[in-house]
Symmetry: C2
Subunit: 405 residues, 2 copies
């Protein structure tokens, strides 16, 4: 056990050399800090002889956001390491392998994914990921079902709820996703051209009531171990493979929050394509691909979730006729509600997404942003009347059409 | 700090003498074990000179139920002590005062309530408790609201969720309330004259589905710190006063579970009166009193809960128009669902209640038991169509009339 200190590039090399069986004895190690330094150090450490490389991720004791520095718990590194290890057991190959972790140093040593690209960047460039829907749908079904009361003895599940208690990072979500976007909070930022829409949101009691209920779910439902921040910047992809990274927000919460996060980020890319693609046909095919992906994610998720339910449930009530259907129906509705919240917060809240921010012309960007707000609102308000996956794509394209006429 | 050992009467006296400021220096202490020895030792310790008396409650490392001995965590004594102290702070005067507690010895030293009677006994004897509805409604509103996310900073609330993690005692409820009564479980016991009704329950998919959803809520919703076992055997009462005891099942769960438990036990007494009172008029007045009490509990609870919401909420979404109404409506429905489960488990499950067991004639008892099952079923199935407190009493008396014709 060590005492926490921030590593330098050279210290990272020394630390790596002392981890048994990580590099050959004759390794010639180089180290490069490749993170953005806002929350973590990320060192890329490579053996110039074997070319083998690994990643060191070290949590910093603060978060630098919009120029300010907030103290932030180092315990998030433990949570991230333990979540990665668990997710790797439940869904092998879909998260970076963890070689070593050090609670005191807030350090995780893991697989280097340099061959992969952050998915958000690929989506902005209109890349196609033919396996993504199947992969992420499977990842969601396995990590959520297999950490829930459906699949665990209640002693084990309650132990995990306590172990993954993550108050500080949950508070960030509670504020930035569910609270601040819905009033004139100092943390909000948005395109001045959509001020009218932002103000309308702050006075939209129907949406605010539903968001309050969704926040209540986030605060009080220990349904499964969530990734907790599953946007397309937390997913690395190639045409073949998918890796989910950065589960430092992991905690026991409502399953729909994770599924909704993925869907919201595809919706955000969908609306951003309005401002990116100059060729209408190219834009429309890519948007159709995004809608197919959303449908495919849910379809895969539901099929895999039902298979797990049939084969792996230990909770006796899982066998009761109709329960799985009722459960999946409620889960779809939660998913849409959280997808709506996660869409809206990226337009009027503190943290925005590159998909939309990379649209240079503010007027063009405003068009995408208004569309995102309209889809987010529909997802939140109509979620309880939606009972099949086809309705999601319809809801998105109908809102799109309605806003275009 | 001590090492756990079961106290003898004499050791309890020695222990009491060493607690500062509890008894005068010249106290002449006597000790008497007054518990039933199934789960705990309860020593009544009295100073013969000043007549001052106190209670020692020591958890035993096992539970003796139906002749068997199950190992059971001593941590329940810590949970009980801490819950009593917290409830005493949130709602002064409604729980026994804790003078001292010793985690290692699984011991709570508390106020002697010999002047009070276990309420279940009083109800069987058709005693009237004019303050009870107001007292318990207030106790429920204060202890539930003030331990929820509505009233606590999320860090504090999450800390309490972890501190009141109570897997072993929750498992007892999970099995005995939500699972075993709904199939032919070895733990079940019931009057042979209601076998037909028990078997009908085991094949009642509509009820079983709703009970599965209520169990899901019990397993996954950390809404507030519950008492966790709030039947009328956990309430001591006089005509004037009310004291809630024995919160060893305390944990963070759905608020409706506690409110429902109180209502269920009044329903059980209501149906038991069918077999107790020989005078029809006396029976009907007492049953009317019980229905008034149920209505009064909810009315007091709701008024007090809304006052706390208006005055003490720290959660920002509490201010959103319509949220309190929506919250209270869902809470009433949860309450009725849990009341239904808690009614049924006392008829076909492992643990029965004296109200009904004290009816000697099995045929007379069967009449009460069938009525309890019918009311429990209605509460579970109709809960979502009930939106006002008057509907509860109507549902009970309508079911009563329907079963009597």
């Amino acid at each position: 056990m060590s005492t926490y200190r921030m590593l330098t590039e050279q210290e990272a090399v020394e630390y790596a050399r002392n981890i048994p069986d990580l590099f050959p004895a004759n390794a010639k190690l180089t180290s490069r800090e490749i993170g953005d330094g806002n929350l973590n150090f990320v060192f890329h450490i490579q053996d110039e002889i074997s070319n083998k490389s690994i990643i060191f991720k070290q949590a910093l004791p603060y978060a630098r956001v919009v120029g300010e520095s907030w103290p932030l718990t180092l315990d998030r590194a433990r949570i991230e390491s333990e979540a990665l290890i668990l997710q790797g057991e439940l869904c092998p190959g879909f998260v970076p392998q963890v070689y070593h972790y050090d609670i005191e140093m807030a350090l995780t040593v893991m697989e280097d994914l340099s061959a992969y690209e952050i998915m958000r960047k690929g989506l902005v460039a209109r890349k196609y990921y033919p396996n993504f829907a199947k992969h992420i749908g499977t990842f969601l079904a396995r990590t959520l079902f297999l950490t829930s009361d459906l699949a665990l003895h209640p002693y084990e599940k309650k132990k995990r709820v306590a172990s993954f208690s993550n108050p500080e990072l949950c508070k960030i979500t509670e504020d930035l996703v569910f609270t601040d976007p819905y009033y004139d909070a100092a943390t909000n930022s948005f395109n001045p051209l959509i001020r009218e829409q932002a103000e309308a949101l702050w006075h939209d009691d129907a949406v605010k009531l539903e968001v309050a209920k969704l926040k209540e779910g986030f605060l009080t439902r220990t349904q499964a171990l969530l990734h907790g921040d599953l946007h397309t910047g937390s997913i690395m992809a190639t045409e073949e493979g998918t890796k989910v990274i950065d589960p430092e927000f992991a905690y026991y919460g409502p399953m729909g929050f994770d599924i909704g996060a993925v869907i919201a980020n595809l919706v955000l890319n969908y609306v951003a394509q309005e401002g990116h693609a100059s060729d209408v046909q190219e834009r429309e095919s890519y948007q159709a691909y995004l809608l197919d992906t959303i449908t495919g994610i849910w379809t895969t998720f539901e099929a895999e979730f039902r298979t797990l339910w049939a084969e792996k449930a230990v909770e006796p009530s899982a066998a009761i006729p109709g329960y799985v259907d009722d459960y999946v129906r409620r889960l779809l509705q939660d998913t849409l509600g959280y997808a709506g919240c996660k869409t809206i917060r990226r337009i009027v809240g503190l943290a925005h997404v590159w998909d939309i921010e990379s649209i240079e012309d503010p007027a063009v960007r405003a068009h995408s942003e208004k569309l995102a707000l309209a889809i987010g609102r529909e997802l939140i308000l109509k979620r309880e009347s939606i009972s099949s996956v086809e309705d999601i794509a319809d809801l998105i394209s109908d809102t799109h059409i309605a806003l275009s006429v």
